[in-house]
Amino acid sequence: MTPDHATYSPLQLDALRELANVGAGNATISLERLIGKPIGLDLPQVELLALDEAIERAGPPEAERYGIVVPAHGDFEALVLLLIDPRGAAVLYGAFGLARDSDESYSMLAELGNILASAYLGSLGRFSGMDLAPSPPQLVVDMLAAILATVLLGDGVDSDRVLFCDSQLSVEGERCNVEMLLIPEAGAVGTLIEHLGV
């Protein structure tokens, strides 16, 4: 177990939740501009969960998801993972007039993930005073549990619990949800909390 995954005080979790809220709020604005439709944002969930609990929370393990991963480097090592179900992806394809599951639609989803994650990470960096640079996005279409377990495990550091930091964006009037998860690498949450001064 990594020391930084031990426990957080309610105040620290609140600070992380606020951070996720600001980041996702900024991503929401980007998505609104991109597709020209109002976007709703739920209050982020931030919890320390066992790996299997986190996966259970995310939905049916075998359900198909489009997963877009954007790694971030700098003062803070983390990944942003966006999860979109096939129906949601179809709505986004439609908004850009693209055919389903074509090369163009895949690259649009990856670029969308890049823009949203950059917006999210940008506010996170400003809010915490850290320097963060996103790397190119990677898109996979796979089973929810396979995507999430692989991403949460990262480089295989044995941590009993993972920080589950989840924001839900939804395109109003459409059945389209984009789930954004911030996944700090081992040791990174401690750095983040230090910068937040809580």
């Binding site: 393990p61 075998e62 377990a149 692989t150 495990l153 295989g156 044995d158």
Partner: protein
């Protein structure tokens, strides 16, 4: 994840759903009609829970499968999973590391591998069904469910059981292994 289960009742299905870099390991005694499955998450660690880590999962699963009615020397192994779904980062080889660690632990435990569907870039669901025979199937994302060939399992060599002296079990060879 990090869980294990055993079964012997006809009609039982043991499964690992949505394996990415994790390994689904089944230990089967075909003659006894008993199987055990573990969802292994990492190569090594503090051993709590034991099925989470390759080095502890193998002996613990073997013990539980024997307790469910299998003969220790008749156990054979099936491995599924260990994909590398992403290419970023230095540590994303965990799927391959998981597989290697499970194979090493199986060698130490003198349990031969009769089938494997590992590696690649896609997630998998692994099912082991116990009926008249024990059968195993894999559904890989974007593909139809396929049966794993466990031909070695039905072959009876009629030789005496392992003395435990040899380092590598040779009673049953890993001829039907499939690796993608």
């Amino acid at each position: 994840m990090g869980a294990l289960a055993t079964g012997w009742r006809p009609g039982s299905v043991l499964c690992c759903v949505g394996l990415g870099s994790c390994i689904g390991l089944a230990l089967v005694d075909q003659d006894a009609g008993v199987a055990g499955v573990a969802h292994i998450v990492m190569p090594a660690g503090d051993g709590d829970p034991p099925a989470h880590f390759a080095h502890t999962a193998v002996p613990v699963l073997a013990g539980r499968t024997v307790a469910a009615g299998a003969r220790r020397e008749d156990l054979v192994a099936i491995l599924v999973g260990g994909a590398q779904m992403f290419t970023f980062g230095s540590g994303q080889q965990i799927g391959a590391r998981n597989e290697q660690a499970v194979r090493e632990a199986l060698v130490q435990a003198h349990i031969p591998v009769v089938a494997a569907d590992t590696g690649g870039q896609s997630g998998r669901t692994f099912r082991v069904r116990i009926d008249d025979r024990v059968t195993a199937s894999v559904r890989t994302t974007g593909q139809a469910e396929k049966q794993l060939s466990l031909d070695q399992l039905v072959k009876q060599t009629g030789t005496t059981s392992d003395s435990g002296a040899s380092a590598v079990p040779n009673r049953r060879q890993t001829t039907s292994e499939m690796v993608n």
